[in-house]
Amino acid sequence: MSKKITMGRRAFMKTSAAVVAAPMIVPSTVFGQNAPSNRLNMGAIGCGSMGNSNIDNFLKRDDVQIIATCDVDRTHLNKTTAKIEQAYAKKNGMNDYKGCKEFGDFRDLIARDDIDFVMIALPDHWHSIPAIMAANAKKDIYAEKPLARTIAEGRAIVNAVEKNNVIWQTGSWQRSVPHFRQACELVRNSKIGKLLKVEVGLPTGKGIELQKEMPVPDGFDYDFWLGPAPWSPYTEQRCHWNFRWILDYSGGQLTDWSGHHIDIANWGSGKERTGPVEVKGAGAYPRDGLWDAATEYSFECTYADGMKLTVKNNSDTGTPMGAKFIGTEGWVHVDRRGMTTEPMGLMTSITGPDEIHLYKSNNHWGNFIDCVKSREQTITPPEFAQRSISVGHLGDIAMQLRRPLKWDPDNEKFIGDPEADRMLQRSFRAPWRLPV
């Protein structure tokens, strides 16, 4: 299942340099495999909550050195950099360590030649531009889900990653949790018979009251934070974690969680490289207040083979969080707490040697690093991320337009609905544009 990534220019240069230099320097085995020269240098773009969560995971690794951080909020930036430097000081038994350079502009960080990979954890409206620039600069990329704010931006990321042969891991970490893999293997191996339907339950959203314009806090580059999104007055509840609830930047709980449970639905049903052909549903969007993303949602996707995928917010709909695969001979439900099945015996079923074994990863960040070294494909390449978030975006578009839509998953266009096609891509505020 895995795909070898052909060696890029930077990887080739590194390998070539190592071959030439090897006889002239002390072999790395003298220092061990995690000698400084063997470490991968990381640049962290985005020092908010998810950025810090990823940084914590990379800090645990001896084969990664975080040498640069970037954020438009200087408070976040300073705090995260201090955390990184303290961690390295402690790890090396030093009183003080200074080796992590701060940036306010991700373009300056990407331009550094000594960075091997970047971690991108930004608001969704900022996913595509840095990702494409990093790929064009031949940096490997660990990036947060969802892949992008729009389907067109997601496709542009996939194209850039594939064109540049860089390694990509999406932060859909549930794939690296064993019981999710076990559930998907049960479905793939037809242990519940023919798969008829997948029911996905995601969190319910919420609104907030009207907000007044506020002065931009010192040290926060608000214009840069808005970036390609339409200009709007600053107010505290717009930014940082709360970007998720505003349609200019994200799609609410629906798109935030598409990269988790819809991703698992795609994994189990084998729909990781395609999408539905029809989508219909209804959602509730706050009519007032600052946050405007869907708080309640219920839509149904139909695939070319007849399989149905329903996506609902989990309160009042009877749909539990997670993904429930329903087949002709039973069902499997999986969420973060574990797996339940019907018949119950499936819980202890072991995938046989001649059956389908899905990609195995027990550490999402470790899988990425392993793949950076081996140039193999990660467990969540960008195409898979594009297909999971596409379902969320399609549902959101159908709910916003309030009509059923027909979708061509190969060409990623709506069929006979140019108005809906207009919602596949957003225009960028100047001077930003999708990089070539």
Partner: protein, 254 residues
């Protein structure tokens, strides 16, 4: 409410009375013919009479009186067309009650007036007459003294439902950086050469981020007709402008 074929839309009288462009008229073909069956009847009648007069040595127009009669009717028809055009062009768009509540909207106010208009737009899918009515009012919001947030809302709606009828109003927003972005968001989506022309025309006189944004939009539209204009900017002294032009040309080339 009167049935649709009895309602008079002064603003669109010209567009709807003559078969120059069904799409522009905002009506589907059947609706247009029902509305205008009498006009069509007289147009065909006098067209046939004219042909008879010109090519069939008079045809049924046997006497000088008949020919004079035809001449006066043709003159009357021409005068009628001119009057229709004048009425159509001079009749301002009148905002309905929902739009009037929108004009003073600013950030921090209740969004309900916006939601009402958005509901109407979403509900009008497939209703060409209502779409035309809504689009003309949205475009008019861009021309009048209204809040910045009101114009922003209008542009966001025109991103989805804007047609060539909105291009002129959108073109009027290139005066400053903030409204220029809003105009581009809508113009980028309008699938008509008039949008390319509007963007190309706006290149002249634009500078800084506004100029970069317009170039970006032409690139996103894969606007082949703007290649020669963009080539001129590829060697611009402003490196941001030059890079934007090169990227736009690369997108068009792909």
């Amino acid at each position: 409410m009167l049935p649709f074929f009895m309602r008079i839309d002064l603003r669109n009288l010209w567009l709807t009375c003559f078969p120059i462009d069904f799409e522009l008229s905002g009506y589907n073909t059947i609706e247009w013919f029902v509305r205008h069956c009498l006009i069509i009847y007289f147009m065909i009648k006098y067209f046939v009479l004219s042909l008879q007069y010109l090519y069939l040595k008079g045809g049924s127009m046997k006497t000088a009186h008949d020919r004079s009669y035809l001449k006066w009717w043709l003159l009357l028809a021409i005068a009628g067309m001119a009057a229709l055009m004048m009425v159509s062009c001079s009749t301002p768009v009148e905002f309905d009650a929902d739009f009037q509540k929108l004009m003073t909207y600013t950030f921090g106010d209740s969004r309900e007036p916006l939601m009402v208009i958005q509901d109407r737009i979403r509900a009008s899918y497939g209703d060409a007459e209502e779409r035309l009515n809504l689009e003309l009012q949205l475009a008019e919001l861009l021309k009048i003294e209204s809040s910045w947030e009101c114009k922003d809302f209008a542009c966001r709606q025109l991103m989805i439902v804007g047609t060539k009828k909105s291009v002129k109003a959108l073109s009027g927003l290139f005066g400053n950086e903030k409204t220029a972005d809003m105009a581009r968001f809508a113009l980028e989506k309008i699938n008509d050469p008039s949008a390319d022309k509007a963007l190309c025309d706006a290149l002249e006189g634009a500078s800084g981020k506004t100029l970069v944004g317009i170039i970006n939009s032409l690139g996103e539209r894969r606007s082949a007709s703007s290649v020669s204009a963009l080539e001129g900017f590829a060697s611009n002294a402003d490196s941001d402008v030059a890079k934007a032009a090169k990227d736009a040309l690369a997108k068009i080339d792909n």
